[in-house]
């Protein structure tokens, strides 16, 4: 049987999404299921990412699996000049599954070709981070009861933010989403995604400021303007404080509306929002563990 990898969100069909989301709900009800008993998982973080790594490692632990790996390239053979090819070939001999994050784009697709075991992409540079998308979908499903007819406002860095691009692709598989993009011109949603929506006949609107429009939102998806994505530090300074969500902006928003953020946040959501019941980002992070348990179970055909 062909091994299943998860490299890019578009590798999966709507049926795959729904299966994973069902499993995630099951793991939320009953998180400790020892389906990985006797199995070893490699957690290869060539680039540090504490949040994603801990989420994955928690998911693996709750499934009863063992973990080998490293949390940054400095403590691996990469620092001796070993190629990605050789590292993956070697590790693939030892384990049943590889979870990897790498700063180079396309590294996960390449690793999946080299490895004999399934590979889960936990982020390859600015390219893809599909497990984030699945946990975002799970959070939307949980809070809205459906993934159809969602009116979503994406705010912040829509140009370099890979999470918004992947979520846009995934939600487009469901009934009649409406997308609203709020970003400065320098960080606007790229043309290729707008073209994709046009071709699918999906409605979208572009705004340049956060105003009463957000009162129509079911979901507000905030993103961080990431310094490391900018070639020119002056460009970063110009836009970093442009869009900040504050509690007083939320008074007339819909009761079902929830605010998501892939975290870490810097200043784009004011701390006064945290107490609002519409703030969902910390629960969203918790959902990540269930979603990752579900993804692992799906990939290894454990459930």
């Amino acid at each position: 049987m062909k091994k299943k990898d998860l490299i890019s969100i578009t590798d999966y069909s709507k049926e795959d999404y729904l299966h994973i989301l069902d499993l995630a709900a099951d793991f939320e009800k009953n998180p400790n299921q020892r389906l990985l008993e006797g199995k070893v998982v490699a957690s290869l973080f060539f680039e540090p990412s504490t949040r994603t790594r801990l989420s994955f490692e928690t998911a693996i632990n709750r499934l009863g699996g063992r973990i080998i790996g490293f949390s940054d390239a400095g403590s691996s053979s990469v620092s001796k000049g070993e190629t990605l090819h050789d590292t993956i070939r070697m590790v693939s001999n030892y384990v049943d599954l590889i979870v990897m994050r790498h700063h180079l784009e396309g590294s996960a697709r390449y690793a999946a070709e080299v490895a004999d075991v399934p590979v889960i992409n936990a982020g390859d540079g600015a390219n893809q981070h599909p497990t984030q998308t699945l946990l975002d979908m799970y959070s939307i499903l949980k809070t809205q009861g459906t993934l159809d007819n969602i009116n979503i406002f994406m705010i912040g860095d829509l140009k370099y933010g890979r999470t918004v691009h992947s979520l846009l692709m995934a939600l487009s598989e469901f009934e009649k989403p409406i997308f609203n993009f709020i970003a400065p011109e320098e960080l606007a949603m790229p043309e290729e995604y707008k073209l994709f929506l046009k071709e699918k006949g999906i409605r979208f609107f572009e705004h340049t400021e956060i105003n009463e429009n957000i009162n129509h939102a079911d979901i507000i998806y905030m993103t961080r303007v990431q310094k490391e994505r900018f070639m020119d530090p002056i460009e970063y300074e110009k836009v970093k404080n442009v869009y900040i969500l504050r509690n007083n902006m939320l008074n007339d928003t819909k009761p079902n509306m929830r605010i998501l953020h892939p975290l870490p946040r810097i200043n784009e959501i004011h701390p006064d929002v945290d107490k609002n019941e519409k703030a969902y980002y910390f629960t969203q992070a918790k959902n990540g563990v269930y979603a990752r348990q579900a993804i692992i179970a799906h990939i290894l055909n454990l459930k």
Binding site: T83, L104, G106, S107, R109, G125, A126
Partner: protein, 156 residues
Amino acid sequence: MSDSLKKKLKLKVSAINDGTVIDHIPSENLFKVISILGLEKVKSQITFGFNFESEKMGSKAIVKVSDVFFEDDEINKISLIARNAKLNIIRDYEVVEKRVVEVPDKVIGIVKCFNPKCITNNEEITTYFNVISKNPLDLKCKYCEKITHEHQMVIK
């Protein structure tokens, strides 16, 4: 092309008995065409010329390869840099077939990904693109998923 120019061309490039003539190659890409087709390893007789006058192209190059007949997959690789190349298949000094090159659906090797952060530019990996538009050429990298546009194309 005028008759007199045709005659001149015939004089400049000797005829072949059996083989393939590749015409209408942009002069500046002649050596890339030779390299893509691996002609430097071919043992049979090869004649090539460039900076020939061409009404359509201004300047063109021609390659004549004796005793070699190319498969479509092989010859279509040059379409990326010689869009209007034409092939004449020669048997016993006669043109028995004329062919044009077509941009393939996949481009494997040949082109560099324009994205400096792509894994293919950082490790020894054969590039692989899906052609998402043929005119103008847009190549989507299988690895980093970024699109290399025609004006960004660099031949490896």
